[in-house]
Symmetry: C2
Subunit: 168 residues, 2 copies
């Protein structure tokens, strides 16, 4: 939301219009864009695009060659219609991010967990994402100011690698 605004409906319309304009530029430059819905906890200050459903509504009006969707388990795992929504992304998934949702979460921005340390059923989500035609990378994205970011990079890499096989 812009400073002082409480108009989430208008913010969403602006995003939809803006994405349409960005796609024109993307077409000129020959690049492909992706929309990444963020968890509703960020609706006020990080992204008003909060669900797969909303992303699909924007994507429906724009060509798949220009615009895909990026799915991050952290943002979508709670969705009560998750299976249908991922299936509806068929052929348009451009990215897939993994981490985990910790219980308790001490900070909604920078306290994400290593895969396997939280409550997200990552293999189940990955299976749905791949069934919807995704063949790209599985990207590890762990914002963790008080834990993982304080550990040596080598250790993070080796544990991430192990967990990618055992928990994803």
């Amino acid at each position: 939301l812009p400073q002082g605004s409480k108009d989430l409906v208008n913010a969403r319309q602006q995003v939809a219009e803006g994405v349409g304009l960005l796609c024109e530029t993307a077409a000129e430059l020959g690049v492909k864009l992706a929309l990444e819905p963020l968890h509703p906890v960020y609706a006020a200050d990080r992204s008003c695009l909060t669900t797969i459903d909303e992303a699909l509504a924007i994507m429906a009006k724009l060509p798949s060659s220009l615009l895909g969707i990026c799915l991050d388990v952290y943002h979508i795992w709670w969705d009560p219609h998750l299976a249908e929504r991922i299936a509806a992304c068929q052929g348009r998934i451009s990215g897939f991010h993994v981490c985990d949702w910790l219980v308790p979460t001490r900070d909604s921005v920078n306290d994400r967990g290593m895969m396997g340390d939280g409550v997200i059923d990552i293999p189940a989500i990955r299976a749905k994402v791949e069934a919807a035609g995704y063949e790209g990378l599985v990207e590890v994205e762990i914002f963790s100011s008080e834990n993982w970011w304080k550990k040596p990079a080598d250790q993070i890499l080796s544990i991430s690698k192990e967990r990618l096989f055992s928990c994803c």
Copy 2:
């Protein structure tokens, strides 16, 4: 989610079944129940019932004399389908809670704001709730361990009263 479980689909089925059983008891006792969807940020540890949509799906199978819905602006304000969802609650709204969503929110449980101090368009939501037939109380519910809970009760009451008129 139960300890160790990652099965949110099953948790939701359990809730739906449990509400059905509770309604039998409620009918015997002559009381009416209400479902209150909580914000998705609480999906892991407080409630797997995260949207109005899910509550309506459970309510559709049970009589309105036994089961209503309680709407709290804090939990529902982000919903991209908010207008339609509240309209779909026609005649079944049993409670309406107000507070505000602060930016930034320092703690997702106990850092709610006084009405008017955050980003929720409370009058717009209240208008929809009343258009859906609600004629009950507007209840102030502000979990605020580091701010409001530390102030004198008289002050909280007088500011709440003022804000109920000016911001709701």
